[in-house]
Subunit: 406 residues, 2 copies
């Protein structure tokens, strides 16, 4: 049995910093004296069963550092969710390659994969150390203050709404921006950090933690538009009616589901278009524009939180330290220890696996269409340094000469 | 008559650097000894006729510098296109406020506004110096090497496709990104600069300078997907069929037109969704995702080319210098004088006004779905410094033990 042979893989949706975790783990593993082999599986668990492995002991540190700052999953990813049979295939390969430690970087679906693999290994009597390294832009892992990948995506959403707000102030109308997030509204809520002055947008924020009503939505938009002559709306792709049915899935001509049974919400502009059509039709507002942030919010090259980069690197490094120096499988969790400082703990896989964290009630305003100061305090330090600043002209009005009555 | 009183306004779509031109002009004007009043009209020509003016001599230089790095039009913008009657209203206000110099920052529609105002002023015998300061993300002003605003938007598009390419490599499928550009494909073409390695996307680039055929499109996508197992497509919102009808406008439930008679193309995800549906239906490819970059590409806070910032500042400053030191109305044009260096010339308003530059043939590959090296040489220096870099893992494959036949 070889604790000295390590396999690492990446699962689920890519993020801006998932390669930091990969590189953190690889470099940490290569530093441990007992480790003589570090390999990566291409495209997650699928790469394991296909024996599609690459030898990461033959990567230069220089190139690894460049990969670390490259967004998306450098090893490739997968949406496969292994069942027992799939896991038996995984074992065959791990055993044949004398792998002693398995690291899987991913979200709550991936942590469930790690849990199943860990249990199957125990059942098969194979001594395999299984570690889950967290990542997800949705920020929906339980037991974590936040999840690597979320801060950078939140920064993108914040910067996007800050710009959209300025654009909309220049050419007034209604602007609807649809943000990723099936069950958890954290990423959509990040839009609220775009505000500097009291009349800055987003003026309304719709989260999947609250039931969406088209009637209330239209009334909200009308009220803001009547007051300011414009309105910026942030909407989660996961908004749903009282029955729990996603508004987006009510629209889709054909519903596409992934291997986890989740309805495909991203990669289409249908929800933004529907909401815009409703506003045009019912409120008779002429200039109504909708954008769906789509894959840009998780893959855009060059928008990253340095706090997120550091932490993503650290969770990878800590996972290897927990594996080499500890005696149990688990998931590395980020705990906030100060404002702002963090520590890392190894938590049980079944405390994370397959569970979904949503926004706590104290983070959502009583109106249901905004966040609280507690959320702003929570998110602000995660966005990182060197945030771009904006300013408005403050010049006084020139006295009218001709049209003094206007 | 007062050459010492100056009015400035911003028209058309906002950009990341249009406020650099505003601030360049305001600071230059405030430095000229003879100038004792600089005012700005809120929301372009509409602000003039409404006497909605602010006193820019009462802005601190510090705040102006912060406004300069703020995207979107700080004075507000408009889509109004003045006719003769509208221009008579403009004169009344300019005369009442003893304005001697009128600066309008905008695209080709705005330059036409300046031309009409200039001609109406001459006809009315009113001594008004009229200057057009260029901006447009579409890069479609004739007589200019390029136009302020375009380089920053091009940088956004490049960074977006570089990220989308990495995301798509991690989770393969077809990705369609729709980019702004009604008649000119420059911004869509900028996507090609995202490539580093030969198999990087975008693999196909569809420009409004070429006729779009859905059949050819599907054949192109299939060929790339068969070869690479994935495909990244960049599509201009302005793609049209042989009759010149925009593909996007064929889809719209109701066609919305602006004051210039242009069909509204942005602010909807319909084109991306249509193309994705075609690919799913006809090519039977399962994972097909579409994003419409929408307003993000012109308003995103924090993605800007420093070259663009400097030049936008300079065209504003040069416009004031041409006005104060010269003897004719005109439009400031950027001329490339080296690789890479530029100079500025004052060109006749009617040489720019209302005309549309499209991509020259030598910039478009013979295939019609890519750009040429000439385009890459043209665009590269405009993107600015500190471009984010990316890297791939280069580790060799691990020899298969179990599935050697796979």
């Amino acid at each position: 049995m070889a604790a000295s042979k390590i396999l690492i893989a990446q699962g689920g949706g890519p993020t801006a910093v998932i390669n930091q975790s990969l590189v953190g783990a690889v470099l940490a593993a290569r530093r441990f004296r007992g480790v003589d082999f570090v390999c990566g599986a291409r495209h997650g668990v699928r790469g394991i069963v296909n024996e599609d492995l690459i030898d990461l002991t033959q990567e230069t540190s220089e190139n690894l550092e460049r990969v670390a700052v490259t967004p998306a999953s450098a090893l490739g990813s997968t949406r496969d969710k292994p069942d027992v049979k799939y896991c038996q295939e995984i074992f065959k390969v791990l055993k044949a390659h004398e792998i002693g430690q398995f690291f899987y970087i991913g979200g709550n679906d991936s942590s469930d994969t790690v849990r199943i693999v860990s249990e199957e290994a125990a059942r098969a009597g194979y001594p395999l150390r299984c570690m889950h390294i967290p990542k997800t832009i949705d920020n929906d892992l339980v037991g974590n203050d936040h999840t690597p990948g979320f801060p950078s995506a939140a920064r993108f959403v914040m910067q996007a709404f800050a710009g959209a707000n300025l654009d909309n102030a220049a050419l007034p109308g209604v602007y609807v921006g649809v943000v990723m997030g099936r069950h958890a509204g954290f990423l959509t809520a990040a839009s609220a950090l775009a505000r500097t002055l009291p009349d800055d947008g987003p003026h309304l924020v719709y989260l999947p933690e609250r039931t969406f009503s088209t009637e209330a939505f239209l009334a909200d938009v009308k009220a803001v538009h009547d007051r300011l002559g414009r309105c910026i709306v942030a909407v989660s792709e996961g908004i749903h009616d009282a029955s729990g049915t996603a508004i987006a899935s009510q629209l889709a001509k054909s519903v596409e589901r992934d291997a986890h049974g989740n309805v495909q919400l991203s990669g289409t502009g249908a929800l933004a278009d529907l909401l815009c059509d409703e506003i045009k039709d019912k409120l008779k507002i002429k200039r109504v524009r909708g954008d769906t942030f789509g894959y840009l919010q998780r893959s855009f090259l060059g928008c990253v939180s340095d706090v997120d980069q550091r932490e993503a690197r650290e969770v990878g490094e800590r996972a290897v330290q927990f594996a080499m120096l500890g005696d149990r499988d688990g998931s590395v969790a980020i705990k906030r220890t100060g404002q702002y400082a963090v520590g890392y703990e190894l938590v049980a896989l079944d405390s994370v696996a397959g569970k979904t964290r949503v926004m706590e009630d104290e983070l959502i305003a009583a109106s249901g269409t905004d966040v609280t100061d507690a959320f702003r305090r929570y998110l602000q330090p995660l966005l990182g340094s060197d945030l771009p600043v904006t300013a408005r002209l403050r010049a006084p009005a020139v006295a009218k000469v001709l049209n003094s009555a206007r």
